[in-house]
Symmetry: C2
Subunit: 190 residues, 2 copies
């Protein structure tokens, strides 16, 4: 017997919007995809999409499926004593990777970025538009220096959690903070 | 009509040995795999294997299928003025990645390491046994510092060539040397 149809609840609608956004951002890029196009793909009203996500950038971050929202975390990292920005960044980043709950989705992202051109494009646009521009502006450094910070952090977790080189896999977070925070701080100092 | 059988030439034999080595190193790890076992897998005499490759470590490097042999390159990088070791390392590493002939096999390795546990194990043993131990010993630093060097270099090419963040993808090699060589030098200074 067929079940009676029912209207999708808010969390289903939200999921459908995120799925549509992921599809269009991957196919058309951050600039190419529009709120209107994503709303049409999800068969919802553009106003509803704004109600759930506010801005295109918020929707893009939701489509990245990250275990944390960098739009919430970055302001905290970039405020506070400037001479300890490197330390705050390394400590937060390692803390996220130490938690299996966030490490697993991060690892899935690393794998898909390495093997899949669309995932690499999403990550490129996410880093460039959402993360690096904010870091560069807050610290008054060129985007190249913000990108160097990201490169050191990504290389660190690649060798610690993907390749699992013993020297890095066995180090505790505080050892790594002591080693890497000065480097991050130097990149962020014009 | 069946072709007459012929004995495999030296380059075919060499390829068969490398294929057997790749299989056993991946299945049994660097310590578990033996010259005797690899010779048996390739159906050749262990003496012939020694004739082609010299040592188990040389054979392991051949099995990694790298576009350059680090056993040849490392001595040159680690000799010369010690205050410019960081610069020599960054310059050589970026030079290899700039060449499509070596970049393509490196990219293939990055992809397989990210997605495949056996490839990650091979890379872990290769870095630990062949590369990092030599760097740490030559510079008199703990393995953690040699691993930090590798992490910065790998993160750099991940963002420059895999994710292709514009700030890094568009930078020229000399800009990157100026930015990253001091960091590598600081990791290699006890």
């Amino acid at each position: 017997m067929a079940r009676a149809g029912r209207r999708p609840g808010p969390s289903e609608t939200r999921e459908e919007i995120v799925a549509a956004a992921r599809k269009l951002f991957a196919e058309q890029g951050y600039d190419g995809a529009t709120i209107r196009g994503i709303a049409a793909e999800a068969r919802v009203n553009a106003a509803l999409l704004h109600h759930f996500f506010g801005t295109k950038q918020q929707l893009f971050v939701a489509a990245m499926n990250l275990p944390v929202n960098p739009l919430d975390e970055l302001p905290r990292l970039l405020s506070g004593p400037p001479e300890r920005t490197g330390e705050r960044i390394v400590r937060m980043f390692l803390g996220l990777w130490a938690e299996p709950r966030s490490r697993e989705p991060f690892l899935a992202i690393v794998r898909s970025v390495s093997g899949n051109e669309q995932a690499a494009t999403m990550m490129r646009q996410f880093l460039t538009r959402v993360v690096l521009s904010r870091v560069a502006e807050a610290r008054g450094v060129p985007p190249l220096r913000a990108a160097a910070v990201a490169s050191q952090l990504i290389g660190l977790v690649m060798l610690r959690y993907v390749v699992r080189v013993p020297a890095l896999a066995d180090a505790d977070d505080e050892e790594l903070v002591a080693l890497v925070a000065p480097v991050i701080q130097s990149y962020l100092t014009p």
